[in-house]
């Protein structure tokens, strides 16, 4: 390797969701990954969560496939129980020293059977369950942990501390335990580093001594089916099921007295989620949430909040908690608080949950020292709004909660974005160190009688608490061709994958059925397992007995069990008729198309080009930059103009980018890897072939018609004010000594027609208000708000605004402010001040409306690309939590405002994230397309041609198939066929069918339904 060639591997520090996402993205796009984790297994805080908002997906269920993938990916080396102790070098060429702490259990030998932990005599507080349960001194963090290998807690092990015991070593059949193990120092070379060490939960909670006060993360464990109380809402003091529970918000957040002046961004939403889930577990519960502002600023969050209030009846109380005390006899908790009207009230609760904030990881200081990066004042990694993924050291990138508290989707976006940032400097080394996965030769099962294996999943208690799983197992054992049937706690866990492989070998199985959750999320995982066992992946079938059975028939366990039997039987019957399919290989045109030249699109295009791919950037307007052209200064007083100008210059001068301004998309056809787009501009039509599409079409400002807007020039929008504020000598009133501005928040957001929050308007108002005060301190500035949503470090500016004398008045959606003229034709804003509980009247020289963000008319592009939109018209990604830049249509990605309202730094991250996903696709010479496409039985086909008209994709042709006899038949173009089955459903000769869902398979399934 030459001096200047970068090294094609990357070090990732921290194995939470951020690190896992980056690892998988890097490995998929041709880089070798070292994933270093301090703890004994990967997964991070997300593995501790019960559910995730706003979809209420089970957290581990959506994380687990990624854990498993990370654990078995050929190009990801997991180095657990380890820390970085040395780091030197330059971007592209770093040397890293890693200390591997002794685990005392051999990773290679341990099979994860758990006999050691059953017999270990030492009980220790279980940190995974937040000390609400005990674990042993030899342990795995949780059942689905990756790697599923036990570790000995050297602090508590009797053998290691006192030289006594040694039971586990005697019991371990694999001989994996070695009490003499020593720490190991290893050295590796990498081209770039991603820091993803995550967060710490705020611990110095003053009331944690009370039995019935738990932290939100403890409550998360209480709600979890695999938690200390098996998912029953109980209070720790007496195991009683409480009725009245309270959540206290902002514990360890928005509090300068404890040096936590920032907002933790996630607590409002997780408290709402926990309240909803708790109520689902125990319908009689009466949750109350005590809060300052509800910060439901993310995509779809506001509707979730509304549902919590209206459908679940959760009580939200805007109130400052003064004190909480414990009733010594009943152990109830008494909360004293000041309500909205300033009165002190007292209320008794049986269980109180502290919504604890997020802190920088406790390793942040050490990371700073080892990697030589700067931290900001609270100890988070220092970044800035135009380079949110870059640390102060070149070649070292950051993502996730280490740079600022953030939620899972933003973390995932940043993690993919950081992959792009790393790939930009390592582009040339792509593929230099990666290995290709070798599968065992596929068994030819043609003609063999079906031998079916079945796993019925308990999914913790998600299925097992409703469906009688053992009886389903007994039932399927009686079915013909079933040679193996068993139950499992979590079928998606790594050890079960091994059991599946073993069962396939031991029982000579040639079909496999899993009855568990939805095939939409888990089918690929099991198919991969089948491939590793030498079976064609299409010999797998899934029965959905959770989402479509146990969860919807909770009140009817008997019916649910019967249905589960039926669903399993149907899947088994279908499986009997399954056959091997060969996926066909498709070429990839390694060029990208980016639609939209705003901040997100520019970043996507530039990043793709820097990674070595040709890109066409299409913009409908004459200028690039989109909405960022309208932003003159940011909250932290930077000018985005300089950043934008430089970015535009870089993009326009890049040899690999062709910029098409004033250009429309006329048509997009084709499919992943092989799109063909027709562009239309003044020069006429251009056809462009490309492998991936990034949709970054942006969004625009909502045009208000309320509050006298458009009728009086003294009513303007925030954006107009921002522009005016940059103009020299601008005055909105002749009276310099006494003037006033009233700002009204949530105009066109959080309304019936536009139910969601526009995320940026609170910060925008505060930004402008601060500038007004700076220019003229005598101006009175009032901000009329519903909730101030300055999340993360933006909270500092909210506090600054209050210190500067900006007056914040809260109003309720039901009592909106009135903007009217008084007798002297002054504008008068009337609003009810909740503190004095009276209507007040503000004479204002200027009324500024904080208008929301509105999506463009996206239907056309959505239709061309066959991707969905949300109800409010933004693009809808494949999964709001874990696939925030992808669509379910392969090869199509989304970034920026087209996805949802966001700040510049967030658009930059998402633009880069979309390009990482696109680059991963474009870096491949070919991809294998799904084998589930149509096939023609030549002998049956009469070449009538009716299928040709039915096919929406022009995938069918009539061709001569036998030159000698002149026999004609329909023929499928494999690249064009999408496998919809329209042809098969109408074929009068039964000659054409869709592999994977053949008529025969459907008949079998229908017949199994008793």
């Amino acid at each position: 390797m030459g001096e200047n060639t970068p090294i094609g591997s990357v070090l990732i520090v921290g194995g939470g969701i951020a690190g896992i996402q980056s690892a998988l993205d890097l490995a998929e796009s041709g880089f070798y990954v070292y994933l270093v984790e301090e703890g004994p297994s990967i997964g991070g805080v997300m593995a501790q969560l019960d559910k995730t908002f706003p979809t209420n997906d089970c957290s581990l269920c959506i994380l687990s496939p990624k854990l498993v993938e990370c654990g078995r990916h050929l190009n990801v080396k997991n180095i657990t129980y380890s820390e970085i102790i040395g780091f030197e070098g330059t971007p592209g060429n770093f040397k890293v020293k890693i200390r591997k702490k002794p685990r005392y259990v051999d990773l290679e030998k341990c099979v994860g059977c758990g006999i050691c932990a059953q017999k270990c005599p030492v009980k220790v507080d279980d940190n995974y369950n937040e000390k609400l349960a005990k674990r042993r001194a030899i342990y795995v963090e949780y059942p689905q942990a990756v790697p599923l290998c036990y570790a000995i807690d050297a602090e508590h092990c009797l053998k290691i501390t006192k030289g006594k015991c040694g039971v586990c070593q005697k019991l371990c059949k694999s001989g994996a335990i070695d009490y003499e193990a020593k720490e190991e120092i290893i050295e590796i070379e990498v081209g770039a580093v991603l820091l993803t060490p995550g967060l710490e939960k705020f611990k110095n909670n003053p009331y944690i001594g009370f039995d019935n006060v738990v932290s939100s993360i403890q409550f998360e464990r209480i709600l979890s089916a695999s938690g200390p109380f098996k998912g029953h809402v109980e209070r720790p003091s007496d195991g009683k099921s409480p009725e009245k529970i309270a959540f206290l918000q902002c514990v360890g957040s928005r509090d300068v007295s404890i040096e936590h002046g920032y907002c933790s961004s996630v607590c409002c939403m997780y408290a709402i989620k926990e309240a909803i889930i708790a109520k689902e577990h125990a319908h009689h519960l009466k949750p109350t949430i005590f809060y300052m502002d509800i910060r439901a600023f993310g995509k779809g969050f506001e509707s979730y909040y509304e549902r919590a209030k209206n459908e679940y009846g959760i009580n939200f109380r805007r109130s400052k908690v003064v004190q909480i005390e414990e009733d010594i006899e009943t152990k109830d908790i008494i909360i004293r608080c000041v309500d909205e009207n300033g009165n002190q009230v007292k209320e008794r609760f049986e269980l109180v949950i502290m919504s604890v904030g997020l802190e920088p990881t406790k390793t942040s200081k050490r990371i700073k020292d080892v990697f030589g990066i700067s931290l900001e004042k609270y100890g988070f990694a220092q970044t800035n709004s135009s380079s949110p993924l870059t640390t102060s050291r070149p070649g070292v990138f950051v993502s996730g909660a280490f740079s600022q508290p953030k939620d899972i989707p933003e973390t995932v976006v940043q993690s993919s974005g950081a992959v792009s940032a790393a790939a930009e400097i390592l582009g040339g080394a792509r593929g230099s160190l990666t290995k290709e996965k070798k599968y065992p030769d596929e068994l030819n099962i043609f003609g063999d009688p079906p031998r079916i294996g079945v796993f019925i999943c308990h999914c913790g208690i998600n299925i097992g608490s409703v469906v009688d799983v053992p009886s389903v197992v007994e039932h399927v054992k009686t079915l013909p061709n079933v040679y193996f049937a068993s139950e499992s706690l979590y079928t998606c866990a790594t050890d079960t994958q091994n059991q599946i492989k073993e069962a396939i070998v031991e029982h000579k199985l040639n079909r496999f059925v899993v009855a568990a959750c939805s095939p939409r999320t888990h089918e690929p995982l099991f198919q991969e397992t089948l491939r590793e066992a030498g079976l064609n992946k299409y010999l797998f079938e899934m029965a959905n007995i959770r989402d479509q059975c146990s969860w919807v028939h909770m009140q009817d366990p008997e019916g649910a069990t019967e249905k589960a039997k039926d669903l399993a039987s149907m899947a088994i019957s279908k499986a009997r008729r399954l056959f091997s399919l060969t996926p066909h290989s498709l070429g990839v045109t390694s060029k990208g198309l980016v639609i939209g030249g705003g901040i997100a699109g520019l970043n996507s295009a530039y990043s793709l080009a820097e990674q070595g791919f040709e890109v066409a950037l299409v913009e409908r307007e004459e200028v690039l930059g989109g909405q960022a052209n309208e932003i003159h200064f940011t909250l932290d007083n930077n000018s985005p103009k300089k950043y934008l100008d430089e970015l535009i210059k870089n993009v326009e001068n890049h040899p690999k980018i062709s910029v098409c301004k004033k250009t429309q998309i006329k048509n997009i056809e084709g499919f992943v890897g092989n799109f063909k787009t027709t562009l239309n501009n003044c020069k006429g039509e251009i056809s462009y072939e490309h492998g991936a599409v990034i949709v970054a079409t942006g969004a625009c400002e909502y045009e208000p018609n309320e509050y006298l807007y458009g009728k009086d020039p003294k009513v303007i929008t925030q954006r107009k004010l921002e522009k005016k504020l940059t103009e020299e000598n601008w005055q909105f009133t002749s009276n310099k000594e006494k003037s006033s501005i009233v700002m009204i928040q949530c105009v066109g957001s959080r309304e019936k027609e536009r139910p969601n929050c526009s995320r940026i308007c609170c910060s925008q108002a505060i930004k402008n208000a601060l500038r007004v005060k700076e220019l003229n301190p005598y101006t009175d500035v009032y901000i009329l708000y519903r909730d101030i949503r300055t999340y993360g470090f933006r909270e500092e500016y909210y506090r600054l605004a209050r210190e500067k004398g900006i007056i914040f008045i809260q109003y309720d959606a039901s009592k909106k402010p009135l903007v009217e003229y008084d007798d002297e034709y002054n504008i008068n804003v009337k609003v009810r001040d909740p503190i004095i509980n009276q209507e007040i009247s503000l004479i204002s020289d200027l009324v500024v409306l904080s208008v929301g963000i509105k999506p463009y008319e996206n239907k056309n592009i959505a239709k061309m690309l066959k991707v969905p939109l949300t109800l409010d018209g933004f693009f809808l990604e494949a999964h709001v939590k874990l696939r925030p830049v992808e669509f379910s249509t392969e090869g199509v990605f989304v970034a920026g405002l087209a996805h949802s309202p966001k700040f510049i730094d967030e658009s930059i991250s998402q633009g880069k994230a979309a390009s990482a996903k696109a680059a991963s696709l474009l870096s491949k010479d070919h991809i294998s397309a799904d084998g589930t496409i149509s096939t023609v039985d030549i002998d049956r086909c009469t070449s009538c041609g009716s299928c040709i008209n039915l096919c929406a994709y022009n995938a069918i042709e009539i061709k001569i198939v036998n030159e000698r006899t002149g026999k004609k038949s329909a023929q499928i173009n494999e690249a064009l066929c999408k496998g919809c089955g329209a042809c098969s459903a109408n074929c009068r000769c039964n000659a054409i069918d869709v592999c994977g869902t053949t008529a025969e398979q459907i008949y079998e399934a229908v017949c199994a339904f008793k």
């Binding site: 959770r546 919807v552 239709k863 994709y953 089955g981 109408n986 994977g996 017949c1007």
Partner: protein, 138 residues
């Protein structure tokens, strides 16, 4: 016939109603347990023969679900499904079996309520109609 529990098969499109059904699960909605789902790549894959086979085997009702108009993942599979269902309903009426036992319903992936409503209504409708009249069910 108050204790009659009908058996209903729902053909689901992989891109809309199947997702809606999953989401109904995540939201812990409730619907009768006698509804079984069969996943197809598209509602346009539904063949009249599948429906007849189901009735022949004694299923009391068949519900075909697909994407909302103009939202079909495969352009117009849902229109094709609707045309077939309407055609078959007429035949079922004509032979005295009752076209009411067959129903087509469109919904998007984001409408779990619609799914729950469709299967709940279907169950109620079939309960009223009573068991499948086919003799010598196979």
């Amino acid at each position: 016939m108050s204790d009659f529990e009908p058996k209903i098969i729902t053909f689901c499109c992989n891109y809309c109603s199947y997702v809606a059904a999953d989401t109904a699960g995540t939201r812990k909605e409730h619907y009768p347990a006698n509804v079984e789902l069969l996943r197809l790549p598209c509602s346009g894959k539904v063949d009249i023969l599948y429906i007849l086979e189901a009735f022949n085997k004694g299923v009391d009702g068949v519900l075909v679900t697909g994407c909302r108009k103009e939202q079909c993942h495969f352009m117009e599979g849902n229109y094709k499904a609707e045309a077939k269902v309407m055609f078959l309903k007429d035949i079922l009426d004509e032979i005295g079996f009752g076209g009411n036992r067959l129903h087509v319903q469109f919904m998007s992936a984001g409408e779990p309520d619609e799914f729950v409503r469709a299967v709940t209504d279907m169950t109620a409708r079939i309960k009223e109609l009573g068991p499948n009249p086919v003799e010598n069910k196979k």
